[in-house]
């Protein structure tokens, strides 16, 4: 049944890819999305059936620009909206990467605030593409030609977003213009706490999972590498972290399968329970390859460590 649903959704994605705004043709059916379990009244969905361009986004999302389209699934009864977007993001080394997302199923936000959708990531190649839940898009009730909302992707956010409704004849021949970057209040206190003694020391990983390479023989190494890729986070089997120095630097060792990786975290900063840092692969003086975002306090640090295409969900506890 799950496989059937996936096939149906993939069919819908391909149809949507053929129909989304600017870069593609603007007409075409969206078929294949199964009827959502919860019905949202059509009159609540109808104001969102439009083509959009991204005009503002939280800087933490690293999205440069984007386009989006929502339309009613053809033949659906009761009718429901399905969306697709193309976001142009800043990659870890500064290059622009393209990300495709579909938004389904719609759900009504509390107090008539608008609509929410699960963000489904679409693979770059249809043949190998997977539609995987990757976050959430909330769109608040349109005001004139503007729709505000918030976006969660890759385990990060929420980031504020603002879209402008495009007129029927409004087209971009290339990528859309850069959206305004909304700079959120980011942690800027040095270290990971008010006093160095609160966070310096040796940490142990407390969310280690089972090792998928354990019985894999010769294939263990490649499984270990593959398990560290993607946006959903690798299964980390073992790990440790040491925080020391002034300014504080964290050395993180993580084992995914039989593969051990060492990361260096610099520019540690905090605000309330927020903990952030810059991630390097080859020591503190090597170029940054990602970032750490999480929460912490009272001898614990938990969050997401992003290094290029790899995402690691980690929970650390200070050894006392």
């Amino acid at each position: 049944m799950r496989r059937l649903k996936l096939i149906l959704v993939l069919g819908g994605v391909l149809a949507l890819l053929a129909s989304v705004g600017v870069a593609w043709a603007t007409t075409g059916a969206t078929t294949g999305y199964p009827q959502p379990p919860n019905n949202v009244p059509v009159q609540k969905q109808a104001p969102f059936e439009n083509r959009y361009v991204l005009t503002a986004v939280g800087s933490g999302a690293s999205i440069r620009s984007g386009e989006m389209k929502f339309e009613f699934e053809e033949g659906s009864s009761p009718q429901f909206l399905v969306g697709i977007s193309q976001f142009y993001s800043y990659g870890p080394t500064g290059e622009i990467e393209t990300g495709l997302f579909t938004f389904y199923p719609p759900k009504a936000l509390p107090n008539g605030k608008g609509l929410g959708f699960t963000a489904l990531k679409v693979g770059a190649s249809a043949q190998y593409g997977q539609v995987t839940p990757d976050g959430e898009l909330q769109l608040f009730t349109p005001e004139g030609g503007t729709v505000k909302g918030q976006l969660r992707l890759h385990g990060g956010g929420p980031w504020p977003v603002e879209f402008k409704v495009l007129a029927d004849d409004e087209r971009y021949t290339a990528s859309p213009p850069a959206a305004k970057q909304i700079h959120e209040a980011e942690p800027n206190n040095p270290g990971w706490g008010g006093e160095a003694s609160e966070y310096e020391g040796e940490y142990e990983l407390t969310n280690g999972g089972s090792d998928p390479t354990e019985k894999a023989g010769t294939l263990g190494a490649v499984i270990g590498v593959a398990q560290g890729l993607g946006v959903n986070g690798a299964v980390v089997s073992e790990g440790s972290m040491t925080v020391e120095g002034n300014p504080a630097v964290a050395t993180v060792k993580l084992e995914t399968g039989g593969t051990e990786r060492t990361f260096t975290l610099t520019k540690l900063a905090w605000q309330g329970d927020q903990r952030v840092a810059q991630v390097h692969n080859e020591g503190p003086s090597s170029p940054p390859v990602g970032h750490f975002e999480g929460t912490g306090g009272q001898g614990e640090v938990r969050g997401t460590l992003i290094s290029g295409h790899s995402v690691y969900k980690v929970d650390f506890k200070l050894k006392r």
């Binding site: 997977q130 023989g217 010769t218 294939l219 593959a226 993607g230 593969t259 051990e260």
Partner: protein, 156 residues
Amino acid sequence: MKTRSRSLASLLVLAAVGATIIAGCGGGGGSSSGGGTTSDFVSGAEAACRKANGAIVALGTPQQEQVIKYLEDTEELVERLHKEVAALGPSGAAETAYVKGLAEAIPVLTAMSNAARSENFDAVRELSAGLVEIKLGELAEAAELKSCAEVPVSES
């Protein structure tokens, strides 16, 4: 005393000749099929696995820009390992299952390489579940292939 010694020596010679003939007969069946004996298979497969594991260790742990090359190289190494081990002529269920496991891994690795080329790294990770399911290490253990059951661990 001298006669007893000569008789003992004759017996020993006869025993040695007999053992040689028996050993020769025992190995004939496997060799004639071109596959080698089970012990030939084990030693040959172990040598092939040590070579493949060494080459995989030498690939190191790839950085993100090296993932495509890493997957392509691993695919090639596993394909070569499969050819070498299959050519040894597995006999018995455990050896056959190990060779089958290697064969099953190749299309999964091909799909992973293709997904990496499309920069669909989520798909690479998800496809790797197909490799986990093969449990190649367990199959190697069942076939008494100690080196083949080991996971190559890179230091870098």
